[in-house]
Symmetry: C2
């Protein structure tokens, strides 16, 4: 596949693909006589993995280090495994942080619902904890502690 085809398929800008290649995030991208890149299935799989690792908060330089380990062969299997184990717990932590954030947002949704019903904030703003419906209070307290 050419760079334009990959760009369309994975929805990644061409400039970004070149940038990743130049940064060493892609192993073994073949070139023809004219110097034009031809991506194979392994390159596509790498790109999907890169997207996923990036999305889970990993930096490009760490991803590059991982790619270097891949190029070094079996002696780095353990390093690579450890990396994924660590990344797994990073993602799990991120998910639970987001769930906590979601609680507060849901409380805020309820808050503005009430305020809009009243036309102003005063009642809901001055509400005591025990006046707040139990399910909403749980969200709010879960966040504040």
């Amino acid at each position: 596949m050419t760079i334009g085809e990959v760009s369309k398929k994975l929805n990644i800008p061409i400039a970004t693909l070149r940038f990743y290649d130049s940064e060493g995030l892609l192993l073994n991208v073949k070139r023809d006589e004219a110097g034009i890149r031809h991506f194979d299935e392994a390159n596509i799989a790498s790109l999907r993995l890169i997207e996923c690792l990036k999305q889970s908060g990993m930096q490009l330089k760490e991803i590059k280090e991982f790619m270097n380990w891949c190029a070094m062969g079996d002696s780095t299997l353990n390093l690579r495994k450890e990396m994924f184990i660590k990344q797994k717990s990073n993602i799990e932590a991120k998910i639970s942080e987001l769930k906590r954030a979601l609680s507060l947002i849901e409380y805020k949704c309820w808050y503005y619902d009430e305020a809009l019903r009243d036309g102003n904030e005063s009642r809901v703003k001055n509400m005591k904890l025990d006046e707040i419906p139990e399910d909403i209070r749980a969200k709010y307290c879960g966040f504040n502690s």
Copy 2:
């Protein structure tokens, strides 16, 4: 509370607190005669909210816009409610993307576990889909599609 106390309590660098204040993310931070900031409970609540919104992917300029709405009173209640509703779905989307990423990472953990057991990648690398245990295959395919 002084800026140093807030910094310790919320674990946010002093310079960052000053930066947020100067950017207009904090409403009504009081100053004494000497020009020293004194944060009240409402400021602390704003900071907690800022952390949460940031963490869920919102930019500082959007957060600032929200703070401006707050300062404008009841006429912006609806805008604020809509913002939280949108942010709620942003977080939900983020969580499901992370779950998808987690699937691939878990597949990779399994992959390197197998490879390490063998001492090399060849067997697991050449495995056909139907040779992969069903639970692992589900993770892998869920990602690739």
